[in-house]
Amino acid sequence: MRIGIACPYSWAVPGGVQSHIRDLAEALIGLGHEVSVITPADDDQPLPDYVVPAGKAVPVPYNGSVARVLFGPLSASRVRRWIKDGDFDVLHVHEPTVPSLSLLACWVASGPIVATVHTAMPRSRVLLAAQPMLRSALEKIDGRIAVSEAARTTLVEHLGGDAVLIPNGVATRRYRHAEPLAGWPGPGGAIGFLGRMEEPRKGLAILLKAFEILAAERPGLRLLVAGPGDADAQRHKLPEWLRERAVFLGEVSEEEKVRVLHSVDVFCSPNTGGESFGIVTAEAMAAGVPIVASDIDAFRQVLRDGRAGELFATGDPADLARAARRLFDDPARRAELTVAALAAVAAYDWDVVAREVLNVYETVVLGRATVGVAQ
């Protein structure tokens, strides 16, 4: 299939929508399809060859903050030319209610259009007020996809109609291999955590308490924590004798994140709730690191009820210590969990997700002409 994808946000800025589009596009190309992505981008930025830059994003106040988007007559005519030249079988727009290229693409195109909504927003008065002006653009959408249940609710409220739920994929190949950070995991073993340090539902406090218990019995054991937040404040939650055995990295790049996962013997997801899927846990599974996770529903599901990772009672540091102890003492069990986790996470791979998206494409193109420019 020839697939045209419109991205509303600048390719130069890291973001969930952009990485979703990148991973989806690469998975579709891997499955043998032709993909072209139109996006705002910086002039001097190196771009993958499937990306068509439409100009530098313009900062503008929108929805209470500053959005970096592209709009206006010149952008519209660039999108029009891209559609004309692309001769796509299907047009896939992301976040069509953001005032940017996706909305413009809906506006200028005719033919099969699929839209994906990523963000969950409270029912927005603006969008309702602006409905009449958006209607002609948005009512051309033939198939809707939501990446989460919350996003689906937003979409139903804003655009009406229903949506297919297709969650984000995991780019498992990107996590499989990486060089550990220098000196890690070390002979005494290491346990790791990724996530916002201050967010209570991420559960770092529970891991710190469990680390205290474990470190007392294991002289060489170290802790590696990465994620946004005040590292010093977290370090001081540990008793003084333990502080030099914990390393707090702060926010890390995508690439470093993978290295962090490969730098520990056991990865811990101590979340107390608020996860609908547990993307970080799935990424750790893709890296092949044995996992200790709280037994919230999301982790129970992704870890196959404990067959692909050790579960402990949510919020209980002593039980976390017990589960981790079991893994540290039993290399055979760790190897077994790694194999099971790699097999389990394959179900969330982008290849699988891309096939589901393709199914949506195939449904909307049935009996339709290709994408053209609306008169």
């Binding site: 313009v58 503008v60 929108y62 500053v66 007559p73 519209a76 290229l101 603006v126 002006m133 958006l134």
Partner: protein
Amino acid sequence: MWTLIVLVVLALVLWGFYISWRASRLDRLHNRAEAARTALDLAMVRRSSAAYELASSGLLDPATSLLLADAVRRAKDSGPAERDLAESDLTRALRAAFGQPGFRGEVEANDGAAELVGEVDAAAQQVFIARKFYNDVAARTMDARRRPLVRVFRLAGNAPQPEFFEMDDALPDGEGAGEHIP
């Protein structure tokens, strides 16, 4: 002796007249500040309406329409405390929209579009002027209220102290102006 008394009484009477003249001058300043503030409010309302009319005219691309409609809605819904911020955001949204390459040429090629765009231009200019005038009279009023005589005799009475209205109201003056948001 009598001459002296007459002179003192005369001086007191003249001074009384002077104070009452100062009081009525201050009163006039307050009234003018209030009128200027009303004019500024009206100008901002006119600008919002003009921007909304342009946004809903169907002459713009939907992305630009949505941006403008969002900014107008926020300006209209803002309480007194965040009014300056919301109106500044509307200014920035207008500047970003009007500053897009080819905006005027492309939009004004349509029937009736030149008038809608012209109305936004005029209203934006009016906001700019009205705010200048208001801040000017507000400054003079504040200055007058600070004088010792006014303070000692409480000539301002219960009239509220006018405050400066600070906002970004730089005009959307066409090509290339929409690139910067402070």
